[in-house]
Symmetry: C2
Subunit: 581 residues, 2 copies
């Protein structure tokens, strides 16, 4: 949203309040209602037509803007013909409303075609969030959008800005998500390949780069009138102002690096938490993460500047995503004269690690407990099961059950999922630097039952994948909580590594990456009654079993709507008491 538009909106809000004659209500938190319909539609996200999963005829879905403390009510109607649907509100902790977390098989039954489910939850903390499908690979199909929570009335952000923009990053394939699912589930396994296009706010340009205008590339060029579904969303700025860029990544696969030609970025927020301001030339962002950066428009206002998004962590086969930072004193159609910024080498992990280590909590942020009650070590491996290629955690590849855990645990349905707790660790002699000697793992859907209000440490341990010398990046996302990132390390985690944990100013986040052959240590307090997914945010990896499930204080959960439980064994149980006439 441009500065001017933003100002107009604030004006309208104040007027509304004035005329309502109840100023105190206006200052108090609001309930914001949305009626959404999810459906497939033809769309051209990258100038090539395909099928996307849209909301109310839009792709990406509508942006929700709210104020901290507000209650969001989304009446979600499923207009798909045969598929269920859910929406996860990524980064919103769902205190008191674990059934509204929007995770199929975990917090609720998928919404049937033709039916409407009402999500109702509080956005208690200002920040940059997003939402997306969390059933099968519907996120890959394009079911996502932005969720921006502003500070409450009378509150202030710990930084100043004159205007803001929202950049939701994603990646796009020309092969439909349904066929991607079939490919990944086939024996032999078929990999989906790298995305065709990177999208900024759902817009990219396949085979038609803006940069062709200024490089000597012979690739076809595109002229945009600006009203095409794939035309880049240009950021119009005024000179000598400070802008907040809210950047989130809901990529299915790609790890990204964002740069703005000639402009430094000062990071101030990560995953809805304030961080120690730090200036960077380029921003690494993994799927599931969000950042706010401030830029100052102090460059030559007679020029425009590239904003570029590039792939990191995998050998890039996808062209940069590009748009323009336009000084409004200049024509928006005037392209930068320089070539777009080049990102660090895709496998320059030192650069990435250095970047991640720069992210520290803003002074005054909540500090982690100094000790933990339970430490769970999660080994991330690529495996095979009966010839199928899978990902496994401590040798268990997650297969989500048809009955949602929340209802199953609440109603003690012991046959709804594996009752045996998954392993807390992996064998001591496992060599994380080599391919597994025995690639076999098993399917499972057990739950890590966490004592309510205890402090849990999780060590995410990366390892060599099936191929020798290969270890991939995995951004792990935790539902229902923020965690403190206590540290990153190389090789196998050892007890003595815990001594180097940052307990002073570790950042609070909901997503953290493990680097190839490394480990990442997280700490969180299990203080949110519910059942919560914790998983690699790479969509194909989750689909291949890369996740675990945490549960805590489920006996305290109240008012789960029956509608959230109308499937599987909870549905069966809830219907069993009905006395037929």
């Amino acid at each position: 949203m441009s500065l001017r538009k933003s100002m107009v909106n604030r004006g309208l809000l104040i007027l509304t309040c004035f005329f309502s004659f109840v100023i105190q209500l206006c200052l108090a938190s609001k309930t914001r209602h949305f009626k959404w319909e999810v459906e497939y539609m033809y769309w051209s996200p990258d100038c090539m037509e395909g099928v996307v999963m849209g909301i109310n005829g839009q792709f990406p879905g509508p942006t929700i803007r709210a104020v901290a403390g507000d209650t969001i009510v989304v009446e979600l109607t499923n207009r798909l013909h045969t598929e269920g649907v859910v929406i996860h509100w990524h980064g919103i902790r769902q205190f008191g409303t674990p059934w509204a977390d929007g995770t199929a098989s975990i917090s609720q039954c998928a919404i049937n075609p033709g039916e409407t489910f009402i999500y109702r939850y509080k956005v208690d903390k200002a920040g940059t969030y997003f939402y997306h499908g969390h059933y099968g690979m519907q996120r890959s199909a394009g079911l996502y959008g932005s969720l921006v929570v502003e500070v409450g009335e009378g509150q202030k952000e710990p930084f100043h800005y004159d205007g803001e923009f929202n950049l939701l990053l994603s990646d796009w394939w020309h092969k439909g998500s349904q066929e991607q699912e079939v490919a990944l589930s086939s024996k032999p396994f078929r990999w989906i390949g790298e995305p065709q296009t990177l999208l900024i706010n759902g817009r990219g340009q396949y085979n038609c780069s803006l940069a062709a205008h200024v490089t000597n590339s012979s690739s076809p060029q595109c002229q945009f009138r600006g009203n095409e579904q794939c035309s880049p969303q240009i950021l119009h700025v005024q000179p000598h102002k400070t802008y907040r860029l809210r950047v989130s990544s809901t990529t299915a696969l790609a790890s990204l690096n964002l740069q703005i030609g000639n402009h430094k970025m000062v990071m101030v927020e990560a995953d809805g938490n304030y961080i120690q301001p730090v200036a960077v030339d380029d921003l690494d962002i993994y799927s599931g993460e969000s950042y706010s950066v401030l830029i100052h428009t102090d460059q030559d206002p007679s020029k425009n500047y590239w904003i570029s998004v590039s792939v990191r962590g995998r050998e890039p086969k996808t062209p940069q995503g590009l748009t323009i930072l336009n000084y409004q004193t200049t024509s928006a159609s005037k392209l930068p004269t320089s070539t777009p910024p080049v990102s660090p080498l895709w496998n320059d992990y030192n650069h990435s690690k250095s970047f991640s280590n720069k992210i520290l909590a803003l002074m005054g942020s909540p500090k982690p407990p100094t000790t933990y009650n339970r430490r769970i070590i999660l080994l991330n491996t690529q495996n095979t099961i009966n010839g199928f290629t899978k990902w496994a955690i401590n040798n268990i590849s997650l297969t989500l059950p048809p009955t949602p855990y929340l209802g199953a645990i609440k109603h003690r349905l012991s046959n709804a999922f594996d009752q045996k707790s998954p392993p807390e660790n992996f064998p001591n002699d496992y060599d994380v630097m080599k391919p597994p000697t025995n690639t076999n793992s098993t399917y499972g859907n057990g739950v890590y039952m966490l004592e309510f209000r205890t402090t849990v440490d999780v060590i995410l341990q990366n390892a060599n994948a099936l191929a020798t010398g290969v270890s991939e990046i995995h951004p792990w996302h935790l539902h229902g909580h923020d965690f403190w990132v206590l540290g990153y390390g190389e090789g196998k985690f050892r007890e003595k590594d815990a001594k180097r944990f940052n307990l002073k100013n570790p950042p609070l986040r909901n997503t953290a990456v493990i680097f190839p052959f490394g480990w990442t240590a997280l700490r969180f307090v299990a203080d949110n009654p519910g059942v919560w997914a914790f998983h690699c945010h790479i969509e194909p990896h989750l689909h291949m079993g890369m996740g675990v499930v945490f549960a805590e204080g489920v006996h305290l959960v109240k008012d789960v709507p029956n509608h959230a439980l109308a499937c599987g064994l909870t549905g069966k149980m809830l219907m069993s008491n009905y006395s037929h006439h």
Copy 2:
């Protein structure tokens, strides 16, 4: 199945009975158990790889063979990732088990991913049937297979044969069924086009015709080892025998014509009912129909003969489907020297009508009641609703509700569907020979409530579609019943046409076609408690609203499994009594 194989199977059955020492049980009806899993998989139905919906790793799904009086139990597990699924047992009347009819929104809730639903029903009548998906366009995705019911022990067919073959015909698109749904539901409407390939038992050859070997065609030729997924299924016969060919069509769109070079066919069964034997050179078969024909292998046994399947009723853009009738005295790889039989012109409707009029009940078949209690006239029109292209019946385009009718009516949930009965007729001044003057119709999902055990006449009235001079073929299929086809006529049905109804030997069927600009008169007795779809069997037409719903004696329906009602308002109601701890 070849003669030899068939004989071997019979031998095995007798042995089993002998060793069981309970011959009477063997003669009595059996329960046949099947465990099926539905999933998407890569397959090459026409030598081009695509995604099909298979059962237990097979496409088409496994053939069910049973004996009249048997009980079939299919434990159907949905292994799709986000889609529900149901299976309809086409032609099986489901007396006493209307909840097992396998129609989403009508007889049951779709089975959720990961869940298992148990279909249990009697096959009370020998005949040639098939089964298929009945949710969204899952039939187009390839969810179908054959269901063959043999006469009970001690019973005899009214004709003799030495062996039999089963030919399930279908049509295949390279565009996935999901995208087809999006295309049809788009504004502006996008037609899916003609199928790429015709399949015989799930096998066809795209861009690689067997006939290229004997014609001067320059099209690429294919050599088959015979084990390819797309290699034609050759019919191996012995000279001087009689074979029964069971032919069914589960095409999504195409009306077909089947011919066997040099061999006459004698039709003996239609839709599971015996008909007066009649010799034909070629067989018209519409989607939803099945026939048995007898052929006598009395031709030169040193040659092989073409079996060809061609498109009728739409300007054909799809090559013939071909396979070989192989006299086993000759090598199966020896191709016929002649060109494949050429079907009648696609728009030679006189030929088609003459064919349909040849189908008469076998002497001794049940006769229709001589009078009717209620006559419903159903005008078939193509319409627009808010710019969407639809089909409508008496100006109502059917949109199936999220709550299945069976449970909704049984539990008197008056807000589950339109309580107003749909119209019994259309305005007298409507000109069926011209495009609609007002193309607008409305969405609706009301039910024709039929008095139990009354006789209902339905006049299906065809009309001009949206384009001038165009009227399409629609094969209408009734669930839960056979109907008598009392007659076909041209133009608008008039009262005096009823005088020409065939009440003497009308055939009993479950599917009947309406010809362009014509009408078809049907009579049935509403004697099967349940809720029953009646619809055009062309998959895109049903998807576009071309159907109605009949209900009768629902108060007599017992033992509907809760699982069939665990969605929508029935799910809500059934769960409402649960007392939470």
